[in-house]
Amino acid sequence: MDSGPVRCRLWLLAWLAASLCQQAAAAAPAEARAAALLQLLHNDCGACHGLSLKGGLGSPLTPQALAGKPADSLVATILNGRPGTPMPPWRPFLSEEEAQWLVQLLQQGGAR
């Protein structure tokens, strides 16, 4: 009873699923960088949006407040700012992938 081809097919499936997931989800940054990004989020984004991200002069960044907003436009807001509002561009301080990771975290409520 040779289970080789079956096992092989299972591996292929798993690999495919994993790579699909990776495309849908932003790649997580390395641990130290992730910690620095979370600190940036709570302290520096938090200067206007609140340390707990419930809003202030900046709008709230809770999952409820961000529900239904396209991730792409949120990423663009982080990177480029919003002219006519106090939201500044953060592009000098984080990459597009990192902004995607933060948006995903915020929308899923995992930004702790």
Binding site: D44, L51, S52, L57, G81, P86, P88, P89
Partner: protein, 402 residues
């Protein structure tokens, strides 16, 4: 033998315990040593919802008080006798602290999102400025019972505007600005259950904070939405609000602002007001009677706090991210930066002792307070603190607009 030794041992132990107990009782019965509160202060520990009570004569921490809620943004005012501190938290709570017993004596949750407050000239009324729901609420300073709620004028989205820059004026009045409604209001709390409001509209785009001059005559709102500030002369309120320092950016591209500046009455040094520009790495200098711009002082980043030493000879400036590890000192007569310090990571606030001998700085990311000698710029002492932000000394109790 063994039995008697044991008995003696027991008697000795009993005597020792009795002695200790009477000592402990004596300690309970005798009142704590008398002291004043004029050299005390409150330090906000923003992430842990706690404050430290500090003694600024001896540069030491006396106590930590916990359970104040969300202090990620907080400000403090003092009762006229400087015994009680009122802490306004981000979560809309007002906490009344007894500086002598280091205890939380009262706490009310009065809004869902708040930014600060003020105390009336007679010390009887606490006013809180709220983002959500936008407006001002008045409380009895003794009991924190609600006296009145004044919704702010609506902004473009139809919701009551967020309130910024609340400051006390003489005669039980308060002035504040409305970020979403481009308005300055003066509230008369002579009858605190039925306050009277005077509204000044179209004062300029997006006022982000405000200050009252130390004599309580002028109220100035900084504008985010345009280059300039809005000035109300409360001696001539009928003349309305006028623009000062208009067009200070002179058409230059505005630089990004990673933290909003904070305004208070500390901006005035002698004959001049030193004010943070928005979107320019400059401190603006205005004559404090004509309010004409007399100079700009280039600095290394976006100024956040621009604070004159109590004597007015020098002005200290800290900065928004990513320059928040630095502090610059401006010499007032020459209007030049004479010193750049790099005292720690994330310097969020500065507070002078009453007569300016020392300045305390908070370094959030180094979890410390620094006490700096203003004459020599030497660090006299560092004290541990948990992510400290605001530092508030009780000498504010007798200052208007603080």
């Amino acid at each position: 033998m063994a039995g008697s030794t044991l008995a003696t041992g027991r008697r000795t132990l009993a005597r020792l315990l009795a002695a200790l107990l009477s000592l402990a009782l004596a300690a309970c019965a005798s009142p704590p040593p008398l002291r004043g509160t004029g050299n005390l202060g409150v330090v906000i520990e923003r992430a842990s919802g706690s404050v430290q009570i500090v003694d600024n004569s001896h540069a030491q921490s006396l106590a930590r008080v916990q359970g104040l809620g969300d202090l990620s943004h907080a400000s403090v005012v003092f009762s006229p006798d400087a015994r009680y501190a009122y802490v306004f938290g981000r979560d809309g709570a007002i906490s009344k602290l007894d500086l002598l017993s280091a205890r939380l004596v009262k706490r009310v949750e009065q809004a869902s999102n708040s930014i600060g407050g003020a105390i009336s000239s007679d010390g009887r009324v606490i006013a809180a400025q709220n983002y959500s729901p936008g407006g001002v609420k008045l409380f009895d300073a003794d009991t924190l019972a609600l006296l009145a709620s004044v919704p702010a004028s609506a902004g473009a989205n139809g919701q009551p505007s967020r309130v910024v820059g609340l400051a006390d004026l003489p005669g039980k009045r308060f002035a504040y600005a409305l970020f979403d409604a481009d308005e300055i209001d003066v509230l008369d709390a002579s009858t605190p259950t039925a306050p009277k409001i005077q509204r000044f509209q179209h004062i300029g785009k997006q006022p982000y904070d405000g200050l009252a001059s130390g004599d309580g005559r002028y109220f100035i709102a900084g504008l985010y939405g345009e280059d300039g500030l809005a000035l109300l002369d409360s001696w001539h309120a009928d003349a309305g609000v006028r623009r000062i320092l208009a067009g200070y950016g002179r058409g230059r591209q505005a630089l990004p602002v990673y933290k909003m500046p904070h305004l208070r009455g500390w901006s005035i040094a002698g004959d001049y007001a030193f004010l943070p520009a928005i979107g320019q790495h400059e401190v603006l200098v205005a004559d404090n009677r004509s309010w004409a711009q007399v100079a700009t002082v280039p600095v290394l980043g976006q100024p956040v706090f621009v604070m004159a030493e109590p004597g007015g000879r020098r002005v200290w400036v800290n900065f928004a991210f990513p320059d928040n590890d630095k502090v610059q000192v401006i010499d007032v007569p020459t209007r030049q930066v004479i010193k750049t310090l790099q005292p720690g990571r994330a310097i969020l606030h500065m507070e002078f002792t009453a007569r300016g001998d020392a300045v305390w700085l908070s370094s959030r990311d180094d979890n410390k307070l620094l006490v700096i000698d203003t004459a020599s710029f030497e660090v006299r002492r560092t004290l541990p603190a948990l992510e400290p932000s605001g530092i508030f000394f009780s000498s504010r109790a007798s200052r208007m607009g603080m």
